[in-house]
Symmetry: none
Subunit: 225 residues, 2 copies
Amino acid sequence: MEAPIKILIADDEADILEIISFHLIKAGFEVITAKDGSEAIEKANQFSPDCIILDIMMPKRNGFEVCEYLRGNPGFDKTLIVLLTALNDETSHIKGLELGGDDFITKPISPKVLISRISALFRRLQPSTGQKIININDLSIDIAQYKTTLKGVTHVLAKKEFELLYLLAAQAGRVFLRGEILSQVWGNDVIVGDRTIDVHIRKIRAKLGIDCITTVKGVGYKFDY
Amino acid sequence: MEAPIKILIADDEADILEIISFHLIKAGFEVITAKDGSEAIEKANQFSPDCIILDIMMPKRNGFEVCEYLRGNPGFDKTLIVLLTALNDETSHIKGLELGGDDFITKPISPKVLISRISALFRRLQPSTGQKIININDLSIDIAQYKTTLKGVTHVLAKKEFELLYLLAAQAGRVFLRGEILSQVWGNDVIVGDRTIDVHIRKIRAKLGIDCITTVKGVGYKFDY
DNA sequence: CTGGCTCGTTAACAATTTGATAATATAGAA
DNA sequence: TTCTATATTATCAAATTGTTAACGAGCCAG
């Protein structure tokens, strides 16, 4: 269901490349490497990575130049750019961000921190957030325990019911089209009838005892906020 | 048209608060301050800032706690959270980001870098929130929520009514020919009578209670600007 | 293995909302 | 005025959703 996230790393120091690659792969990313600026651009075009990590000081083209090139190309609008440098000077820091970089990290790099920062950026980029507990009004939704608590009373929802409620509540107020609900909760390849969603909505409303979900006729459903 | 960006800063050191405030205000932001965690939560609820800068070590509630609270509240989904600390240890860095922080900055802070980083974050945030809400005069039209709000009162429009209003409001002031309206809202292959548009316009006017749509006799309709 | 449970799904039907039209009234321009 | 375009209203058909019951799959305890 989920395509792996592709990350391109460009650095001329082979050992850094290797260490970072190792940790990124271990963290579940798909990694592509480049050893200079030209190769970075080449591979960026070839693989369309989701994130590009650029060392500032590289042969052929430096990190700033690559960043500038990428930001001038609409195909890379949504591509995250993280700049790395050994120099901790304010001017390049600001320059890197102004050229369109999304983050600027000073060496020495802790792989864990790097991964954390990249994840934080992705979290912002993808509206679908992976939260542990959602609190809205009197309702609390705990993904870890698959349970909901309303005014202190715990309600146990079935899996699909829970997933549906969670989806809506995670972006409370926003209307979800029936098609979106189907693909998010049931998956793209599953075909179920139209009434299935209604029935699950009904069960949620019945179990919680309050109508926190509003029907937008002809469009979809939304969690009241 | 553009409301100023509101930033809440919470730090117990008065001089840091002052320095950062000064630079943020100079950079064009609207600034709110808090001197401890509880006050931060209070003011966050009161002012709904676009960005919240939290010192980790604060009285009452520390930055992590405030961050966790905010991230558990969907009202702050789109609020950027930047964490500040004097300690540069990997563990808190990662913890801060995992709790939902968008950035983690170690003191001493360069105001310019701080502003750069916040701007970079906002740059990423804009496309996801922007464009979908139209605000004209006292009327707000939110396509994501399929609702309209007039002077704080929400009005529920039916699908066609909403689409028609959205079309006109998206290019307020411009006159839409009846034919344009038909093809945009109803589609090219659907054939409906001429009176149908009138009736929908009427329903919109009735529901909103104000006449924000002007008839251009013999031509079409336009949203008053 | 069996009976009893829950869950996910569907069908069938009820209830509701919406959209379109016709009929009539009104307003605006020549 | 007179003619035409639009506004208004009521009505009906169509689309959409709500509700209930029922069925089969899977799970678990005994």
